[in-house]
Symmetry: C2
Subunit: 375 residues, 2 copies
């Protein structure tokens, strides 16, 4: 029976090896949080509301507040009317946004596009809300005509619209002003727009190419922390309007704090990770990372097209979409695929060498396929 040390070293070697071909999922790879590892010797827990105090001092709330403040500014949250917390990932942030919307507008209809992440449907089901799926355009963006048509039919109901700021498969962005214009046109005053900005939210805002933030009509925004910022443990941020949130809080004497979060006990290490990267790189450093990723994605498209593989991407996207590749290739490069397409994502830390190696593999697979067809 191998002891723990042997198991650890052989598993670590495997992880290291597989990380070299990890270009199919949206996770930045350029972090190093070694300096923060000593905190993993303690029982840290950010249970409850990050903005309030507690009897329990084993937390990292100051760091969490720093992270929240950073994103509140980045997304132009109303200055004295925002609240948020660090979640265990994008799904929890989306669940929180939806929950808040349901509390504000009971009986509302939820609208979301067919390119929406599958977890949204799970969340909607959990919350027991009625919903309608909206068609997508070819690039994965919501079909606003379809949205308008359907909203016309349900003018008697409050409307909750989910906007995708970077869909899972093609990184398409739904246009929040287009959505709010439709809501305005049909005089649907009781409405709520939640942005699932898990992937693209942070860098679109850094690029000043956001048209989804609080200025444009978002009532809440959820992002992932382990995607663009980078973290070895999934985490996220959800931001909402404080006045809305205050309606669903609940005072609890046990932790000496108001708990408005879904999770209760919360990872207190992730806020340190987020703080570290944001503080080290600053807005400018983060922006440069985004620009490098976009440039690398353009490069990948060029290389794929050069070898005769159809490839494309949405504007400002890190996600490169291309003809679905073979099972072997998808497995080696850990590529996510749907019926028609595969994709790779040029997250910070993905290198030009990896793209070259991948394209070389595609070329070889294509040649083998042609040989087979010739026979």
């Amino acid at each position: 029976m191998p002891n723990e040390q042997d198991t650890i070293s052989s598993f670590l070697a495997r992880v290291e090896e597989r990380s070299r071909s990890f270009i199919g999922y949206p996770a930045s790879k350029d972090f190093n949080y070694e300096e923060l590892f000593p905190f993993l010797h303690y029982n840290l827990n950010n249970i409850g509301d990050p903005m309030s105090t507690s009897h329990c001092d084993m937390h990292t709330r100051e760091f969490e507040q720093y992270v929240l403040q950073f994103f509140a500014r980045l997304f132009h949250a109303p200055q004295n009317d925002w609240w948020g917390y660090m979640t265990h990932g994008g799904t929890e942030g989306n669940l929180y946004g939806l929950f808040l919307a349901r509390e504000l507008y009971p009986g509302a209809m939820v609208y979301y596009s067919e390119a929406t992440h599958y977890s949204m449907q799970k969340n909607i089901h959990l919350l027991g809300m009625p919903s309608i799926v909206i068609r997508c355009r070819q690039n994965g963006e919501m079909d606003y005509d379809d949205l308008e048509q359907i909203i016309q039919h349900y003018r008697h109901k409050p409307a909750i619209v989910i906007a995708n700021i970077g869909t899972t498969m093609t990184e398409a962005k739904d246009h929040v002003p287009m959505i709010t214009n439709i809501l305005k046109k049909y005089a649907i005053r009781d409405h709520y727009v939640h942005c699932d900005a898990a992937l693209a939210g942070p860098y679109l805002a850094l690029l000043n190419h956001d048209n989804f933030d609080f200025r444009f009509g978002a009532d809440s925004i959820a992002i992932s922390g382990h995607k663009f910022i980078g973290s070895p443990i999934p985490c996220g941020v959800v931001l909402v309007k404080k006045s809305n949130k205050d309606r669903i809080s609940r005072s609890v004497s046990y932790i000496g704090s108001y708990d408005a979060t879904i999770a209760g006990s919360r990872n207190a290490i992730a806020p340190l990770f987020m703080w570290y990267t944001i503080s080290k790189l600053g807005k400018e450093g983060l922006l440069q990372r985004a620009l490098q990723g976009i440039a690398l994605a353009d490069y990948a498209i060029e290389q794929l097209r050069n070898v005769g593989i159809e490839a494309w991407k949405n504007e400002n996207a890190l996600t490169v979409v291309f003809e679905k590749q073979s099972k072997t290739l998808c497995s080696k490069w850990q590529l996510a695929s749907d019926a028609e397409w595969s994709h790779l994502i040029c997250m910070p830390g993905v290198t030009r060498e990896q793209i070259d190696d991948f394209v070389a593999d595609c070329t070889m697979a294509k040649k083998e396929e042609e040989v087979v067809l010739e026979f």
Copy 2:
């Protein structure tokens, strides 16, 4: 402006200092996961169902499966009919159990005692389920007469009963056979028992003092990993009957895996932590830790009583309940309190010296109070 390194070292010193008086919350302190820190350089994520395979290889599912298997055996889950996953904490496990129960029995009434953790009410509200709060006995255990009285009134509805296996304040245990007997007596066939065993589940089972597991009528059990096992990051385990779970799964092509979890993206480091402790200590080592904690709790009661402070505990509990202490003392020792009582918890890693120091502080505070009263 301090740089990141200065901020880290001063914060680390503060955490170290505050950890010395951390006896009020249920978190084991005797872990050292240093050997596993190298994994924090990678993008690990246990997204989706831990039992299935995925295109994405950056996960620790084997370790998660080991942990699940360990607890499935410990809690006598039906051999070929169990399923589970590692959650981000007790709350998510309870939410999953409740969700499953709601799907199986739409329109059911949820019964839970007034000593139930506040997050349960939050979960019930999230899921939009009707519920009734049951009175408690003085020790924090459910008043079964009250449960019986109320269930009589609602015989026409399926029943979902939450059993607390270690309440937050007094670590009281609800008796699952008593609950199932009541359900049987009134012939409520459509019933579901979920055990919130966050705190006490693991060691009660190790002590062979469990009367809450699958053999006794539990349909699902949720535990915390950062409590008795110990982890610097909140985590947990939820176990259910596989046949029940299969009814709420959903296939998703994106991650090449069935996702039946609430969270979606999941912490893949926590399973390594859990595996490490379980594998290193084994059942016997874990049992010894529990026995030491119980002995220390007995010692704490003796010491508190010696200085004239009323103190008591439930059977097999690590939680010592005593007269509510002053704000200063609660703040220094990070004690959770309700209107009447404070408590400390003799989790693995709490030392006799800490108990002695705490009792000395209590004695001093008591004397000061007496001096004030004399004047």
